[in-house]
């Protein structure tokens, strides 16, 4: 039986009242951005080893149970392993004879292949970890306000920032709703005798098609309801809106951001 809800933590917010949760959302978004950039700058194992304590510290300070994050990342990690296995076995570049550990036809395991796959794995895990932590520690309202304020200056270039941010927030917000709906659909179809976890690739693909139609129909129905709800409340983008809560970054928030930047610079340069 499908048990997706427990295994997908994306878009969920876990309130633990920690220091990380109380930080200014703009600072958290900026720090996340710095770490995303870092995942591209750092290209050796030593650099990632330097970043690791910082990530552990963020995890510990946020008070989010590590088991919860790990359980919610099972699907992601399984897929990652699957992709990386391909990456190693079909490593395309020319490799000197001496570094082959094993070879069979076009399949091979070489030290170069393993090294590349290892760096990619660390990069991907870093990206996944920082974006997941941002979601887990920042409520959707804070995330929206933070993004709107950060990209606010773009409004002078006549880019509709508030509307674009709202599109992304709606998308994120609806993921758990669709997951729940999907589970209900799967149960309903299983109850009527349709097997779920059997069959080859084509059967599975057709089954997904059968699930997508009701998902899309309910999605459009929800869109109509939400549009009416927003229009009756006179939604008109971000223009002339005032906020009940103004965001204020404390000196310690800036200090934390400076620490992250300094740490990343060290990891990059070593």
């Amino acid at each position: 039986m499908l048990e997706l809800q427990r295994n997908v933590i994306f878009g969920q917010f876990v309130e633990t009242g920690s220091v990380v949760h109380r930080m200014d959302a703009r600072v958290k978004i900026a720090a996340t951005f710095v770490l995303i950039v870092a995942s591209f700058l750092i290209d050796d194992f030593l650099g990632f080893a330097v970043v690791l304590p910082l990530l552990v510290a963020i995890g510990v300070v946020s008070k989010i149970p590590p088991g919860y994050v790990l359980r919610g990342s099972q699907i992601f990690l399984a897929f990652l392993a699957f992709i990386l296995a391909f990456q190693v076995l079909f490593y395309p570049a020319d490799v000197p004879e001496s570094s082959y550990l094993w070879r069979w036809g076009i399949l091979s395991v070489s030290t170069e292949g393993l090294h590349t796959a290892g760096i990619i794995a660390l990069r991907v895990i870093l990206l996944y970890y920082v974006t997941t932590m941002l979601m887990l520690t920042t409520s959707l309202v804070d995330l929206t306000n933070g993004l709107e304020l950060i990209f606010g200056p773009l409004q002078r270039l006549r880019i509709p920032v508030n509307e674009l941010v709202l599109v992304f927030v709606i998308a994120i917000k609806f993921v758990p709703i669709f997951i729940e709906e999907m589970e209900r659909l799967a149960r309903a179809q299983t109850a009527r005798g349709l097997p779920f976890d059997e069959g080859g690739a084509i059967t599975r693909a057709r089954r997904i098609g059968r699930l997508l139609v009701p998902i899309f129909i309910s999605g459009f129905a929800r869109a109509d309801t939400l549009t009416i709800a927003m229009n009756t409340r006179s939604y008109r983008g971000g223009r002339h809106r005032t906020k009940l809560r103004q965001m204020r970054a404390s000196p310690s928030d800036w200090l934390a951001l400076a620490l992250v930047i300094a740490w990343i610079l060290v990891a990059w340069k070593v």
Partner: protein
Amino acid sequence: MSMGSGSEGRGSIFRFDTRQIVVAGIIGGIALFLGFTRLGFIPVPIPLIGNATIMHIPAIVGGALEGPIVGLLAGAIFGIFSFLQAENPVFLNPVVAILPRLLIGVVAWAVFVGLRRWSVDLAAAVAGLLGSFANTVGVVGLAILFGLLPVAVIPAILPQAIAEAVLAAVVTVVIVRGVMLFRSGRTTAPEDESDEERRY
């Protein structure tokens, strides 16, 4: 900020109405949902790519049914997802991950609008087919341009590209039919031949 200061935000490059914002968000949400649950990936044992995806189908459906802006935004959400959860090294490059995805919905919209007066089913199938090709050609083309994939990879990817396109064509027809049927409010089968046209 005082009410009625007037200048700020007026006349953005592109304007959306509330409905476009909501529909783009929800369609993008379906793409994210397919991604996070990995339902959108159908494992194919082909090196370098590894998975046939159906994550671009929301962008196709959004473009076909709701116009180019919704299609573009849904594609953008798909692109940002494939960048932030890039299990495939090719998508660690944000240009390769995001740029081609913007076109999926726009292509689907143009095809659908162009063909729908002949047959809605045909229009949906071709929109799925070409939207899917726009994705593959854009991603593989840019990846080759950036030197992330060798040119020799094209014959290896071809079977997967065709499989994805056919899958997208079939699923798009079914979804477009389903959504249009739902919107028409009909709950029973049409009673006679002449009613057939009004079904959509």
